[in-house]
């Protein structure tokens, strides 16, 4: 029974078990910085003999200061009013801690972005033998990539595509995240797009491929032309999706097709958001996804209001201003969080 697969196992084992990877030139300096950071905690007891008297001197002075501080404390706490005022102070202190906690989180996120210098990373892995793979990945931005045959792929946030340098022979692209493909004006070849669950084939067409590794499903939404797919998990005939329809493919190999109902399914591609008598409830959902922000209200009746309008290439502040004027609202911003207040609608 097991022999059926030994070919696959052996193929990967032979080719990959001793494969070497391309190391980033500045990786060592980053690693040695991290080692320094972790060592500075550990080396404390390892103070050399010569310096040890300084260490003891330092410790004893700490003790002296502590004693003095306790004494001062006792002296002050004998006053009647301090009990209340220290109570207030401790609350203030807590507030301070929580607010610095927030900013810290933001700083770390920012560092994460700046650590990669350019948020869109193009990498080439040169492997030991012949192959090389081109990978494009985005973090917090969107990015258009021109494929070797002149077609384009637009990457949404946190997405990646890769293809081998023999792309013009095999026309095969691997995708994670959400990518809009616009194929065909320059080439008549069939392009193969492989996600973790499906194999998508397309010529002259435009469509979005969205993979979701956590919940294990794929979605293919076609804007123009005709796209076909088959599940990689179950054997079935190729299914076709016509423009205006989408297919969802699950991890068990099950799939379903339906018409695209949301006009904003490709808003990040067209940079145009359309609302027609839409409840603010779902207006906010669309905006949160588009701008990667969080929108909350202090009054749930605001969510009942209905809005009609189109936004093109606006930023989130401009949009919220329009909504504020329409429904007599005001809004406050704390980094990525917006809080809207007002009377709302019945």
């Amino acid at each position: 029974m097991k022999n059926e697969y030994s070919d696959i196992d052996n193929l990967f084992k032979e080719r990959l078990s001793d494969m070497e990877g391309n190391v980033e030139p500045n990786a060592w300096s980053k690693i040695s910085d991290k080692i320094d950071a972790s060592m500075s905690v550990n080396t404390y007891p390892k103070i050399s003999a010569i310096k040890s008297w300084m260490y003891y001197a330092a410790v004893s002075s700490v003790i002296i200061i502590t004693v003095a501080a306790v004494w001062v404390n006792e002296a002050t706490s004998s006053k009647e009013t301090t009990a209340i005022s220290t109570g207030n102070k401790s609350i203030e202190a807590q507030e301070n801690i929580s607010s610095t906690g927030n900013t810290l989180a933001v700083v770390i996120e920012k560092e994460h972005v700046s650590a990669t210098q350019n948020p869109t990373v193009k990498k080439e892995i040169k492997n030991t033998k012949k192959a090389s793979v081109v990978e494009f990945a985005t973090l917090e931005d969107r990015k258009e990539v021109i494929l070797p045959d002149g077609s384009t792929a637009l990457l949404n946030r946190n997405s990646s595509i890769s293809y081998s340098d023999s792309y013009l022979k095999d026309y095969t692209i691997f995708v994670t995240g959400e990518v809009f493909f616009n194929l065909g004006s320059t080439s008549q070849k069939t392009v193969h797009i492989i996600t973790h669950l499906a194999d998508v084939e397309a010529t002259e067409s435009s469509f979005i491929v969205k993979t979701n590794k956590k919940e294990l499903y794929d979605e293919i939404a076609v804007s123009s032309g005709k796209v076909s797919y088959s599940s990689l998990i179950e054997n079935h005939d190729r299914m076709f999706i016509l423009a205006g329809n989408k297919a969802v493919i699950g991890a068990t190999g099950k799939w379903k097709q339906e018409a695209i109902t949301s006009v904003n399914y490709n808003d990040w591609v067209t940079q145009k958001i359309v609302f027609t008598n839409t409840k603010l409830n779902s207006v906010f959902e669309t905006l949160e996804k588009y701008y990667n922000v969080s929108l909350t209200t202090n009054n749930s009746e605001i969510l009942n209001c209905r809005f009609t309008g189109t936004f093109e290439r606006n930023n989130i502040d401009e949009i919220l201003q329009v909504l504020s004027v329409s429904f007599d609202l005001s809004f406050n911003q704390k980094s990525q969080n917006y809080i809207l207040s007002g009377k709302g609608c019945k």
Binding site: D9, E20, I125, A131, V133, S160, S162
Partner: protein, 178 residues
């Protein structure tokens, strides 16, 4: 080969020795990290974290077994830690039932290259990729994998089966396009 004293020097905090050890293993370990990662970007994080762990745990290396194997195991464990918490089959019995069904045989294309195989691996769901790496490439048993990933042996078997099936399908598509 690395000489034996280098480990002692590294433990003592000798930066030159540490860099030498790093240079000796860097490209090999990068290869390991790439196999376990979704993307090149994620492999870089695993690579750096793995090396920091190698140096901070060096004093615990008892000299049993090969040093290569010890370094590699730390890299593998770092990769496992990165993906383990998100595995979708955690705490679910859905995947525990193990059915091995029939498969069509596929001719393996000789011209498949490392980059192609790596691409296939990186696009597998996390659970499939971990189990396939550990079983097929590293050579761990299902019992060992079930301990490492904290899953049942049957889950390990079914993940491996699904991984192989998925790989086979992708290889089939590759053959069709060449």
């Amino acid at each position: 080969m690395l000489d034996r004293d280098i480990v002692k020097l590294c433990i003592a905090g000798d930066r030159k020795a540490q860099e030498k050890l790093y240079n000796f293993y860097a490209s090999k370990m990068k290869g390991v990290c790439l196999r376990y990662s979704r993307s090149v970007v994620e492999s870089e994080d695993i690579f750096q974290d793995g090396f920091v762990k190698v140096f901070s745990n060096l004093k615990n290396y008892k000299g049993q077994g090969s040093f290569d194997g010890w370094v590699r195991r730390i890299m593998v464990n770092t990769a496992i830690d990165t993906y383990k918490k998100n595995l979708p089959f955690k705490n679910s019995s859905q995947f525990d039932e193990f059915i091995e069904d029939e498969l069509n045989t596929v001719e393996l294309a000789d011209e498949l290259q490392e980059g192609d195989l790596l691409n296939i691996l990186s696009n597998l769901p996390d659970g499939y990729r971990l189990v396939f790496n550990l079983y097929a490439i590293e050579g761990y048993s299902h019992k060992e994998i079930s301990d490492m990933l904290n899953i049942s042996e049957n889950t390990s078997k079914s993940q491996l089966h699904r991984a192989r099936k998925l790989i086979q399908q992708i290889l089939f598509k590759y053959n069709g396009t060449r």
